[in-house]
């Protein structure tokens, strides 16, 4: 048991070390504060601010949309349709969607965009990422809500509360740590995903000014930089990877702290 725990910890540490060592020569403040110059494919100057901001835009947009749909869906599945055929069909579909490779979402989004006449853009990327995040978020929330025993909802109904009041006041609160966890899982998958944004969001050296501009993202920055024949640019890929890693790690730590705070009122 200790060995396997050490193994997991060891692989995390070794990933960070390898990325850090290979990216160290390219790591600098300007990586974080400047947009890239000279093209993402060949550029040796400037930073990857365009990709950092781009990823933040993409994930913030996608997560907002996905969350707005996920919470009501999960509450509905549990309080209104818990044992119905519709619910089990919905859960099954979501599980399949969860395991669909992200490139499929990318291609699907791209097809829709071509049909609607939208170019690769922030909007397209947000849509594709939201699709990718949705099943993860709904199922994660759903699983936590399913664990809530009748005993906890009963006092609410006994006071004359409706299903909606019980769902919003009791279920959502009790499931709050799970809701946060579901969001983190989705954000983590979304921010690191290259395939779904490849066709839908495009790539650019600048920061988008509207929803219809193309947008850069960290995983794609890494992908393009690593694909060049120049060692200096490859170093920059590792540096980008390191920045992405740090962002994901700090998100994870932040959500842990948040979850701890959110569990204060939860009934065990």
């Amino acid at each position: 048991m200790i060995l396997s725990a050490l193994g997991v910890l060891g692989s995390l540490v070794s990933v960070i070390i390898v990325v850090l060592v290979r990216g160290a020569p390219a790591l600098s403040v300007s990586m974080l504060t400047q947009t890239s110059t000279g093209g993402y494919y060949l550029g040796k100057e400037g930073g990857i601010l365009n990709a950092i901001v781009g990823s933040a835009y993409l994930v913030a947009g996608a997560t907002t949309i996905a969350f707005t749909i996920s919470l009501p869906t999960a509450l509905y599945l549990n309080e209104y349709a818990s044992r119905s055929k519709l619910a089990s069909f919905a859960r099954q579909s979501l599980d399949i969607l969860w395991s669909v490779p992200s490139i499929i979402y990318g291609v699907f989004g791209f097809t829709i965009m071509v049909y609607l006449g939208i170019r690769a853009s922030l909007l397209g990327g947000i849509m594709a990422l939201a699709l990718l995040e949705l099943p993860i978020m709904i199922r994660a929330m759903d699983e936590v809500m399913r664990m809530i025993p009748l005993k906890l909802k009963e006092p609410s109904y006994a006071l004359g509360a409706t299903k909606l009041e019980t769902a919003l006041n009791v279920i959502a609160r009790q499931a709050l740590p799970g809701v946060i966890m579901g969001m983190l899982l989705a954000v983590g998958r979304g921010i690191g995903d290259a395939a779904s944004v490849l066709f839908t969001a495009g790539y650019t050296d600048s920061i988008p000014r509207s929803l219809f501009d193309p947008v850069a993202s960290l995983p794609l920055a890494l992908f393009f930089q690593l694909g060049t024949p120049f060692p200096e640019v490859q170093e920059r890929a590792y540096a980008s990877g390191f920045i992405l890693l740090i962002i994901v790690l700090s998100l994870s730590v932040a959500s842990r702290l948040l979850t701890k705070k959110a569990t204060a009122y939860v009934i065990k």
Binding site: R83, L150, K151, L152, K153, E154, P155, S156, Y157, A158, L159, G160, A161, T162, E165, N169, V170, R173, Q174, A264, Y265, V266, I267, K268
Partner: protein, 257 residues
């Protein structure tokens, strides 16, 4: 018979049958529950005590695959009628569960939950309501400086008193108690018992218990259930001293249970 003549019926159960997935849990129960008295439902475990209690405000609807027929007449309304505003009925019947079940929120919000969902949002009014209910449940002095703390931080005995305060906050007429002291230590149990005893002036109390001594201490009226059947019911004294059915006699003497 004298007691019955003096009191008004508050809830009248008529030919109530309950089936759980084909299992006949309550068989043709017909009994009147007197107003502003403590009625104890006694009987061995699994005899349908809780089922009867939860049929009164139709909380039994929350369980899957249940079929209920018959009538439960409360204040002239048939509770089992699907057209009835069951939310209003539930508001008028508070529930104290077997194990304390605080809601996942602060002590204050637990008590304010009921009034809030029924439309009271005035902070001052809520403050007064919370203080009054916590005082009636004799919990106020212990929690008045920590109202924003999670309810789950209270001890089991305090939680149960909180649940009592929460039930009182919607101004019910009936209190349904499902063995509310069985999960508590003797001191906390005594607290709850004394409060309920005092509350019978204003509330009709239906109290499920499998402790005969508790029934004898608290009850004005006793209902004895056995295997889903109503065996006997009557004023406490006559039930305990002159039971007419041999099964009641055997149960009261401790022959089974």
């Amino acid at each position: 018979m004298k007691v019955e003549a003096l009191t008004k019926t508050h809830i009248s159960v008529q030919k109530l049958n309950v089936f759980y997935e084909g299992h006949h849990a309550l068989k043709d129960i017909t009994v009147d529950i007197p107003e502003k008295q403590i009625t104890c439902i006694i009987g061995p475990s699994g005899c349908g005590k809780t089922t009867l209690l939860k049929s009164l405000d139709r909380l039994i609807d929350l369980t899957d695959n249940v079929k209920v027929n018959g009538r439960v007449v409360f204040d002239g309304i048939d509770v089992l009628d699907k057209q009835v505003d069951i939310l209003d009925i539930r508001k008028r019947m508070g529930l104290i569960a077997q194990t304390p079940n605080p809601l996942p929120m602060s002590i204050y919000d637990n008590v304010a939950y009921g009034p809030r969902i029924h439309g009271t949002n005035n902070r001052k009014e809520l403050d007064q309501m919370v203080e009054r209910c916590l005082q009636v449940a004799s919990l106020w002095n212990e929690v008045k400086n920590r109202l924003t703390e999670p309810a789950s931080k209270l001890s089991a005995g305090q939680q149960q008193r909180l649940c009592l305060a929460r039930a009182l906050a919607v101004r019910p007429e009936v209190l349904l108690c499902d063995e509310p002291t069985s999960a508590l230590d003797p001191i906390s149990a005594g607290h709850i018992e004394r409060q309920l005893f005092a509350l019978k002036q204003d509330y009709t109390i239906v109290f499920v218990t499998h402790t005969l001594r508790q029934a004898r201490r608290l009850a004005d009226y006793v209902i004895f259930l056995y295997l889903g059947q109503l065996i006997e019911h009557g004023p406490t004294e006559s039930m305990f001293t002159q039971p007419s059915d041999p099964r009641t006699k055997a149960y009261i003497e401790g022959a089974f249970g």
